[in-house]
Amino acid sequence: MSRLGSLLRANLKSNFGVSVLVHRFFREKKDRWYLPLVALGVLGLLPALYGYLRFIRFVFELLQPLGQERTLLTFAILLGQFLVLIFGLYYVVSAFYFSRDLEMLIPLPFKPFEVMLSKFAVILVNEYLTMIAFVVPVFVYYGILSKAGPAYWISASIVYLLLPVIPLALVSLLVVGMMRAVNFSRKKDLMILVGSLVLVCAGMGLQFFINRTAAAKVDYQAMTGFFTSPNSLLTKIGAGFPPAVWATKALAGAFGGEGLAGLGIYLGVSLLLFAGMLLAAQTLFYRGLIGIGEISGRRKALSRSEMSRRIEGGRHPVKAVLGREWRIMNRTPIFLLNGVLTVIVIPLVFLLMARVGTGNATSFLRAIAAGTGLTGILGAAAFMIVSGCLNGTASSTFSREGSQFWMSKVLPIAPRDQVIAKFIHSYGIAVLGFAAGTAVLVLGLGLKAGPLIVAWILALVAGVALTAVGMIIDLARPFLDWTNPQKAIKQNLNVLFAFFADFGVLAIVGALAYVLAKAGVGGRGLLAFLFATLALASFVSVRYLLAFAERRYREIEI
C-alpha cells in the first residue's frame, strides 16, 4: 500500500476505533452490554423513520400529478448539503487545526496536502454518517415509488458519495484561507467559540426551517407551493446553489441526455473544487498552522506584592477542587459551550421557537402558560429540568480530566471530597439552567410566582438525582485517554447514556404519578408524592455516588 494509503488507513482507524471496539467486544469480551443498548436505540428511532417515510410518500404523491416529484430529491440534496455545511465548519476547524496528532504528523515525510487529505477522509466519513438518516430514506423511497431502473440506483450512489464533497471543499477552502489571511492562531479559543455560536444559530435556523415545513404539512397548497413555486425558499436556494439542481437532474434523468449532463457537470465541479482544496492545502495549510498553540497576551512578571496577594492560603480541598473544575470548564471552549452556554441557550431556543415557530415546542410552552394549577407546575418543572439537566456537565465530569486524572489519584484529597466538589459544580450549572428556564417562563409567558415556587422545589430535588446519576454513569467507565477535548464531551457515550438514564428516571416517576392520578389522587397529593419519590431517588443516588467513588478511585488505573 502506498504511503498515503497507510496514512489514510491509520487516521480512519484511530478515529472510528473499529479495531478497538472489535478488540473490546470479541477479545476482552468487555462492554458487550453495549450491543443490546445500541439495538434499543435503533429501535427507538424506528417510529421517527416511519414518520419520515410517510412524509416522503405524502410529498411524492402530492407532487407527482404536477410532474414535479423530482423537487423532493432537490430537497433531500439541499438538506444533506446544508447539514454538511453546518457540521463541516466545525469538523474542519477542529480536525485541520486543533487535533493533537498534527504535531506528530507534520514532522513525518508527508506533503501538506496528504496530511490534509487524511483529515478530510475522516471528516467525509463523519459526514456520510450525519447525512445517512436524512438523505438515504428519500433516495431509496423515491427510487421505489418511481419504480426507477438500475440507472437511477447507480447515479444515486454516485451522488450520495459525492454529496459532501462540494460543501466540504468550500468550507475547507474558506477555513484554510482564513487561517492564513488572519492570524487567528493567537485567538484560537475565541475562534472556536465564535464558530460554535454560529453553529448553534445555524442549527436554530434549521429548526425553524424544519418546523415551518412540518407545520405546512396539513396545508396542501402551502406544501405544493414550498416545493414548486418559483418564489419558494427551496427554489431560491436551489438556484443560488446549482449543484443541488445538477445532482437532481443526474438522479431523475437517469442515463438520458439530461441526466448524464447533470451527472457530468456535478462530478466535474466536485472534482475541481476538491483539487482546488488540495492545491490550497499544499500552499497555505502549514503556514496557517504555525503558531497555533500560541497563547495571546504578553508575559509579565508578577511583582512581589502582587504575588503575595495572589497566593491564597487555607482553602478547604473541596473548595480548591471546585475552583479547579470551574476554571477548567469555562476556559476550555468546547466544555464551556456544553456547560454554561448550553443551559442558557436551550431555554432561549424554546422561547424563540414559541415566538416564531409553530412546532411542538410552542404548544408545549403554551400549555405550560395556559395550564392552571397542576399542569402549569408540572410543565414548568419539566421545562426547568430539561433546561438545566440535559447537558453533559455531570456525565463528563470525570472524563473531562483525561490524562490529568493522575493528579486526582495521587493528590491527598479524599475521593469523597473530589466528588462533592464535582457535584456542586455540575449542580450549580443545572441551577443556572433552572434560572434561565425560569426567566423564559416569566418573561416570555408570564408565569405566576405561586406555581413557579413549587416548580423550583421539584426541579431542585430532581436536579440532585439527575446530577448524581450522570456522575455515577461517568464514574463507572470514565473516558480518559482522549487527545482532543471535544472527544471528552461530544464523543463520550457516557453523556448519551446519561440522557437515556435521566429520561428513564423521569419517565418512571411520571408514570407512577400518572397511575396515582388515574386512581383519583388529588393535586396536592400528587405533588407530595412527586416530591417524596424524587427526594428518595436523590438520597439514594447521592449515597451510592459517594460510596462508589471510594471504590472507583482506587480501581481506576492510569
Binding site: 477548567i328 491527598p412 492510569i558
Partner: protein
Amino acid sequence: MIEIRHVSKSYNKGKVKAVDDLDLTVRPGEIFGFLGPNGAGKTTTIKMIVGLLKPDAGAIVLNGLDTRTDALACKAMTTYVPDYPAVYERLTGLEYLNFIGDVYGVPKAARLERIEKWLEIFELTSAVGSPIQSYSHGMKQKIVLTAALLPAPRVMVLDEPMVGLDPRSAHHLKEIMREHCDQGGTLFFSTHVMEVAEKLCDRIGIISKGKLIACGTMDELKALDRGAGPTLENIFLELTDK
C-alpha cells in the same frame, strides 16, 4: 522511608509481567536511584508507590503506613513527578501552585516563601502568571517539580526527572534532591543517566525484566565485581547483558 515488600504487577490480565516479586527498602535521608533498561518496570514500580496502580501482590509501606489501608495519609506525605507530566494546561502556573498548596494544606506564609524560592531557582517567576499551556516542555516539568517541592514532603518520587531540563536547572535539581534528603526526607527516582546516579545516589537498584538484579551502595555494587570495570556504566552493562 519506602518499603516495597514482595510486590508484583502484571498488565493485560497477567500476560505482561511488569514487576516480579520486588523487595527493597529506601531509608530516610537516602537518595535511591532506580536503574534499568527500557521496559524493565521502573515506571510501573513508581506508579505503585504513589498509588496510580494497585499491586497484584505484596505491600508498599511509607513511613510505617500501608498504602492500602492508609492511602490518604500516605499521599499527604508524598509528592510525585511523572515522566511526562500532564498538567492543568488551562490554569496559570500560580493557580496550579495554589491548588497544590490547598490540597496539601500549606499555610500562606510558607507557601509564599517556598513558591518565591523555587520559582527564582527554576527561573519561572516571569511565567507563573500565564496559562501552563504556554510553557515549554522543560517549563512544564519545572512547574510540576515546584509543585512537588511546595508541600515540603517527607517522601519524593521522581520518574526520570532530569529529562528535558537544561543543564542549569538539572544542576539545581540535584542540589535540591540532596538538600531534601539531608533534612531527613526520602527520595526515590528513576534515571537512565549513569553519571547522575553514580554521583548523587546513596544507594542504587537495578531492575531488569521486572526483577531486582542488584541493589546497594556504589561500593557494594563494585564489590559484585565480575570483571566489568570500575564505573556504574560498566556494571550496568554487564548486569543487564543477556
